[in-house]
Structures are given as structure tokens and as C-alpha cells.
Symmetry: C2
Subunit: 394 residues, 2 copies
């Protein structure tokens, strides 16, 4: 058993693809036992996204520390197994479309009868309520409908999505947080919970000063590329060997920047004296800074500017990220031995806990790897397991 | 007291600006008592981002459900108060630069002596360890250094940040999750924890299939604007009255799309027969679909395509988001009465819990609103409080 903060917690995981599996992986990384229940075809992600020798490193990276039970939930016998499993569980997480779980037979009432203190967490595109709840959903659509895209991109071009599926991932995080907080309450009160997390709500909750500004003033901040909406200079500048991001977010840091770049004279005079003046003359300011940054390397400026107290970093590609000394020092790249698949590299744990840390206990399971063990623990004898297998239930 | 899942938990909140205050707001929304300790000048966000009548709606939206104690931690008396407060707390959250908390006198040893089962959570740009830990940090820099920007934007333009400060917010979420999971462990074992969360690690953990693809194959997926890296069509299309996002992520959904748009004939032939062919002829495919979408309104296509099982949504501005029926049905826009400030609108709760829901218990506090009450509860009599006030400690 794990020693993590959720050690001893059993999660029945009916999720697939991304938001749900990310959520249950967070619970697994934190020490919970996660039993991933898969259809006979398996989570579709097993065949997608970063394949090597027929094996999906994408799947591997989102399903570590889990167990896999393969069964057909559309059969009565399969559903009976799921129900028996739920009765032994603390948490159930699912990301079907709203209503599907109930149609499969797992209504709130049935779940409560199976395990009165069960924590049930549903993750969906639009949530379990509201006029859009039955629509098919997708990360990209949530980015569009939450306002996120309206704030990303260039002022003279269309709203732009993030490359990464952030709505899925933020929803997964909220699901895990709601479950973890509820598990604390459950230790105190013995009570279960019903949790409803939506992709659109989740990414909308990230609107921060864009939402606040609009709600307070009625004005939109719009899209600003890499520029800051109300501060100049600020953005991406071109060093001799690549880009650096520089964020002098206030006058004090601006002064440090200009001194460190030795541009006090070049940026003297009323055209550059105040942030308001620099906002008006942003192209000139940026050109002067760009010319200076172009005289040396990224590493040079990162060293010089950070030493001067100016937030500055290289704009990294993924190959560069994984070679970066900080990434290595933080163990954000891990290698996991997958029996029969060789070593698989994946991201590390962003939550660094000291006493009860996240651990790499097991690679992502092969489809159905734990079916027999889990069924045996439920009291199924070898004959019954063989019979279920013969009839295609497992 | 709240009835939320973290009811009864006391958090001493030494954070300011964004990542930390978001993290403690999540804990507060989940029912914890959060005591925000502010310098005499107050959290700088009190004067920034979406001001109305001299009041920051940005601050209001990130500090609801908290109490505020104003004191000067740089005085011995101020630090004595903080230490007494810590001794009564379950959790301490801070987002100073690494080392600052210890320099102020709150080393891990001191904290443990004050409260052996304290959960301490530090949120910082690069983390408490590694070669970059002492650098000044900023959301934009974390977006640059994590690879996030390398995946966002157009193929022929520079890497692009998200408009929203996602690194701050994701780190805040991870901090809250680590705390909540640890609080469950603490109920079981009575033990505290030391947590270290970094902005760069947090957003790097979102790299999903971009990281998996690179690690598995050595190839980068790069930037694709609103297009999908390996699926066509997919993206933003122009209806008569605005943009819609359409995500036909596989062949089955593509077929539904083409039938719903009645473009079966227009897209017949080998140039469009397979996804690979459509990827090659993306401009033509997109032009054909755009022409069709342009013949009607956003709402029309959203209805028609979703009914056909194709994920589709309007690309919304913030004004539109807050008028959207789903936003209203999900109560993602809230109005909070601030005494003396009038009603303030802010985002709702993305975690919908049924039995012990997140609640709007209190508006964001005025600076130092709870100083006297909190000190009195620590045993400070009115004379001592008056004397601390006179000497500028509180």
C-alpha cells in the first residue's frame, strides 16, 4: 500500500480519455488505489497520442499508479461486478455525458444504497445541469465558450485556443480537489458527497482580471499577443540564439531592466518617461530593447536580468524544457519501467510533499491486467472468473 | 462556521497577489477559515485590476470568504502575533520567494515547534529547490519556460502566452489539492506536512500529448493556431454574426458534420476522402465549410451541429459569457454585497458539491477588518491591542 496522503482510499474509475483519467491519476499519485474499469476495447487513449512501438506514451503518462479491470458494463453480469466493486470503494469518478451513468443503472439512489458514504464525482463538458448539459463536449469548445480564447491571441486576429487541452486538465484538477476535500470531511463526519464539475465552469473560473475588469468597468481587455494589456515594455524579445520573455510588471522593475540593459540614455525623454508614454510608443520601446537583446545570447540576458531582479526566462521548446537543469532538479521528467514495453518517460509530480510524497508505485496497467485479482478479492472463484471470460463479460 | 468539507480548518494565509490568494480562496470556498495576514500597506492587488469607485473587484473576487489581519511582520511584536496565530492554525500557506519565510523567523523547525501537525504549503515560481529557485518569477515567465507557449499561437509566428495567468492559477489549484489531501491524512494520522508547489512545474504538468508525443517520438507538435495538429477540418469558422468553434475530432464526427452541413457532394472525391487527404488540402476544406457556415447564424449552427452530435460552440467574449444561459444556470456569475462598496459581481464556484457545498459566506475583507477580533481571540486585551496599534505594529 502507498504511504501517500490518500493511502487506503479506493477509487472506482469509470473515466476515459483525458479530464477524468487526469483527475483519477492525481488521486492515484496522492496514494489512492484507483481501479480503472475499461470496456473490452479499452480506453481509446491506449491507441492515441505519442505512440512508440505500438504503445501510447500518452496513455502511460495519464494512467500510472492505476489498476485496470476490463469488463463489459452493458451486460448484467458486468454491471453486477461494478456494483460489487462500488460497494468496496470510497470514491467513484466518471466522465460520461450527464445521464449516462444513471441509464447504465448507477443512479444516485443505487450508488447510495451500495455504499452510503460514497463520494461520487462527475466531470463533464457543461455540467450535470443547465440548458447545454446534453451537448457533446470537447476541450476546444470549452475554451471557446468560457471566454478563454477571447483573451488569447493577437488584437488583429481571431480568438485563439491554447495548444494544451487546459479545460480538460483544469476540470480534472477541480475534480480531484473536490474529492480530496470531501474525503477529509468524510473522515470527520462519515458522510459521502455528490460532486459535479464542468469543463466550461472550470476554465471560466480562471478568468481572473479579465472577468473582474469587465464586470467592474464594462470594458473588455481583449487580446494582446505577448504584450501586457496595460504595461510596456513587456513581452518576448529576440536574443542572438532565441527568444526570451521579460516581465517588468511595474515601474520599479522597469527601472531595473533599463539599468541592466544600459538603455537609460536611449530611453530618456518624455516619450518613454512614464508607462503611459511607453504604452503609446510601444513599437519604438520594443525595437530599442529588441536591438539590445539581439546583441547577446538568451543565457546571458537570463542571468543578467534575473540578477538585476527582473523576471526573465527563455522561451523553451519541449526538447529544451526536458533538458533544462531546473526541470531535472525538480524531477519533472520521470522514467518508468513498463514490463514488456521498456522504459517510458513521462512528467513528474507537480505537488512536492515531504512526509507523504507522491510516488511512482506502478506503470500504467495493460488492459485488464488486474481483472482476475480484483474479482478474486471480491470473492469470485476461478471457475466463475473463467465463465465470465468465456461469455465475454470480462 | 461553514458547513463545507473543510469546516473547522484554520488557515493562516501569508500570500499576496494571485497564485497564493487563489489557493487560499479555494480552501475558504471549501469551508476553511482563512486568516489573511497583510502588511500595513495591504495586498497590492487591493489597488489593481478592475477598479470601481476606488475598489478592486479583482481583489474582491480572489479574497472572498477570508478574514484580514493587518500587521507588520518585520517587527518583533508583529511576528509574535503571527507565531501565536500559527499555533492555533491547521494550515499555513505562503508565496514569498524561497527562503524569505525562514529569514522572517518562520523556519520549518520553528513552525513545527509552534504546531507539530501544521500543514505548510509554499507556492513559488520555480520551487523551493533547484538552480533557479532564487530568481524572481512571474506567470508569463512560467508560461515561457514550461513549453506552454511553444504549443500556443500560429506556426509562422512567435510562441504565444495565454491571456489568462494560467501558471498562477494552476499552481494555486495544486497547492489547494495538496493541502486538502494532506488534511485527510492528518485526520487519520495526526501528522502535518511540508508542501512545495512551483508555477513552472504546475503548468509543465499540463503538457499532456505535447510532452508524450515528443518523449515517445522525438518530434514536436509545434503551434497550430486553432487548427488541430493532426485532424482536419477542426477550428474556428465564421458564421453570419460571429465565430463558432467546431471540433470533429474523429472520422465518425466528421461524417456527422458533413451530413449536417449538407456538404457531402462539395467534399466528395479523393482530395477529401480521408483525414490525411483533408490535412493536405486543409485550406480548401476550411474554405468550403466557412462558406457554408457563413450562410447562417452562430446559434443556428450551434443548434444544428450539437443536435447532430458534433461538438460546437460560439466563441464568446466575456460580455457574452456572462449573458449565456448556461453560465446563469450554473451560477458561475455571483453578486456579493460588500458593506460600503455596494454589490460586487464575481465568478461563482466551479466545484458543485451537494451535501456540503461551497458557500458565499463573506465578501473580501477590508484591510485589517478582523485584526482586533482575531487578536482578542488570541488573548490580547484591548489595552495591548491599542498599544500595538499606536506603535504601528497593527
Amino acid at each position: 500500500m502507498s504511504q501517500g496522503p490518500l493511502a487506503g482510499i479506493r477509487v472506482v474509475d469509470l473515466t476515459r480519455v483525458l479530464a477524468g483519467p487526469f483527475s483519477t491519476m492525481l488521486l492515484a499519485d496522492l496514494g489512492a488505489e484507483v481501479i480503472k474499469v475499461e470496456t473490452p476495447a479499452g480506453d481509446q487513449i491506449r491507441g492515441q497520442g505519442g505512440m512508440r512501438d505500438g504503445f501510447s506514451w500518452y496513455f502511460a503518462g495519464f494512467n500510472r499508479n492505476k489498476r485496470s479491470v476490463k469488463l463489459n458494463m452493458r451486460t448484467a453480469e458486468g454491471m453486477a461486478v461494478v456494483k460489487e466493486l462500488v460497494a468496496t470503494a470510497d470514491v467513484l469518478v466518471e466522465n460520461f455525458r450527464p445521464g449516462v451513468l444513471a441509464k447504465m443503472g448507477l443512479t444516485d439512489e443505487v450508488l447510495k444504497a451500495l455504499k452510503p458514504d460514497l463520494v461520487v464525482c462527475s466531470i463533464s463538458g457543461y455540467g450535470q445541469t443547465g440548458p447545454y448539459k446534453d451537448r457533446p463536449s470537447f476541450d476546444f469548445i470549452a475554451q471557446a465558450m468560457s471566454g478563454f480564447m477571447s483573451s488569447t491571441g493577437y488584437p488583429d486576429r481571431e480568438p485563439l485556443r491554447a495548444g494544451l487541452p487546459i479545460s480538460d486538465l483544469v476540470a480534472g484538477l477541480y475534480g480531484a480537489l473536490a474529492v480530496a476535500a470531501t474525503l477529509r470531511r468524510r473522515e470527520v463526519t462519515g458522510k459521502g458527497e455528490r460532486i459535479d464539475v464542468a469543463l466550461v465552469d472550470s476554465i471560466l473560473s480562471f478568468s481572473s482580471y479579465f472577468a473582474a475588469n469587465y464586470l467592474a468597468t464594462g470594458n473588455e481587455m481583449g487580446r494582446n499577443g505577448n504584450d501586457h494589456p496595460v504595461v510596456a515594455p513587456y513581452g518576448v524579445f529576440r536574443a542572438r540564439d532565441g527568444d526570451v520573455a521579460i516581465a517588468p510588471s511595474n515601474d520599479q522593475i522597469y527601472d531595473r531592466l533599463i539599468d541592466a540593459l544600459e538603455l537609460r540614455e536611449a530611453l530618456a525623454g518624455p516619450d518613454f518617461a512614464t508607462n503611459a508614454a511607453r504604452m503609446k510608443n510601444r513599437p519604438q520601446v520594443n525595437a530599442i530593447i529588441d536591438a539590445k537583446i539581439g546583441t547577446n545570447t538568451r543565457d546571458h540576458w537570463v542571468d543578467v536580468l534575473n540578477a538585476a531582479g527582473v523576471p526573465c526566462g527563455r522561451v523553451l521548446t519541449y526538447p529544451e524544457v526536458f533538458e533544462d537543469p531546473q526541470t531535472k532538479a525538480r524531477e519533472m521528467l520521470c522514467e518508468v519501467e513498463h514490463p514488456g514495453r521498456g522504459p517510458v518517460r513521462m512528467l513528474g509530480f507537480p505537488m512536492k510533499l515531504t512526509e507523504a510524497p507522491c510516488e511512482m508505485r506502478a506503470p500504467a496497467p495493460e488492459l485488464g491486467a488486474d481483472t482476475d485479482t480484483v474479482l478474486a478479492a471480491l470473492g469470485y472463484d476461478p471457475e466463475r472468473i473463467a465463465s465470465l471470460r468465456e461469455s465475454g463479460v470480462i
